[in-house]
Symmetry: C2
Subunit: 249 residues, 2 copies
Amino acid sequence: MNYACLIIIGNEILSGRTQDLNLAFLGKRLNKLGIRIAEARVISDDSDVIINTLNECRSKYDYVFTTGGIGPTHDDITSAAVANAFGVPLIRDPEALTLLRQHYANPKDLNEQRMKMCEVPKGAKLIDNPISKAPGYQIENVFVLAGVPRIMQAMYEALKDRLVPGEPMKSRTIIAFIGEGKLAEGLGNIQIIHSQTEIGSYPFIRDGRLGTALVLRSTDQKALDEATQAVNVLVTNFKVEHFEEISAE
Amino acid sequence: MNYACLIIIGNEILSGRTQDLNLAFLGKRLNKLGIRIAEARVISDDSDVIINTLNECRSKYDYVFTTGGIGPTHDDITSAAVANAFGVPLIRDPEALTLLRQHYANPKDLNEQRMKMCEVPKGAKLIDNPISKAPGYQIENVFVLAGVPRIMQAMYEALKDRLVPGEPMKSRTIIAFIGEGKLAEGLGNIQIIHSQTEIGSYPFIRDGRLGTALVLRSTDQKALDEATQAVNVLVTNFKVEHFEEISAE
């Protein structure tokens, strides 16, 4: 298992103006590769905060992903902060320049501000952006991505082959229409016995009915099957409606 | 302006199984009180991680909110970690016990696991939960809340009068159907002149049309009005469709 950290950069996420969707997307996709997001941080558009957070996280995790702040306006300060964190200059990348020149039919449209989107920390390797052309980039174990979900997702497709896969986490979900408080004792005992499998219990209300989603996760298929079997027996003994749900995790 | 940090506790958020909605809710509500979320962290259900994150953040910010991990099952470890972080024992709160006794008609249903929801760090003050009764609590500047959004939101209503309001952030949003790259130069100049107002630029695609949301935020109404006027002039000069959007922020 490899571990990653996601740094979500943007005042608009912290103020509640914009709902972040990038953590859920990356969490699911990276899981499939056996890379687990161990932590995510949402931080403001503040240069010192970006530099400090990045330096703390890049030494701690196998991979760091950042989203947001690589556009053309004054509040897009991510690239300057990343260069600063790595102690390298920000350079105008010729390949990025070519991409943007091709994108803007009228050369006048490629103004100084848009040119900022060609600037990357020295040593960075571009990440393709098929949507709006301005690239993301990788520097060492850090991947700098756009904040707009559709563009971030396209960038992920372009970079995923650069990641070293770990052992993928396999998961099973059992939905039971019973309060988790009733399952808690049995579930706790199962967790102790089946320690190779992580068991999460998430209460929900669906169409006015109280229920619990039991999510089992392990890299070991046999351990997962055994724990799932034990949870199925537990739930069956309560004689309540339950079923296994196909999980995308 | 007072500053807050939100600690979102839960593997299910990091894995992408569950979409966090609590940051956006708290971001908006706290803004209205003049309290700004300066940082949010999503962390795993790991005791040491919770303790360290909580101790780091509670000394750094006026307020810390946590969500998740206060239910009855084995994976709900937040309260034990909070007590540990504060160096106080976990005690069974008599008031919480009364609440749960009233809630469970059949005394047999209040089993040992559900009793865990009556345990709070010594010195904590309960926060009412009108939905499922098991309370949240406050200890010093830390507010420990449920993860389920409906319950978390009800708890927020019950605690908000305990917060010391700051100067509320006022905001205006101008929507313009033009790429942000064209506005960038003028916008940067306006930001320099109107430094008391924070100007954010967020590109979007709506019904296939590219546009930019320009969000202006300030605690000073006069400064905000002046900056908004300047942005309106800038956009008008481009002769594109634009309008002011009522913002809930």
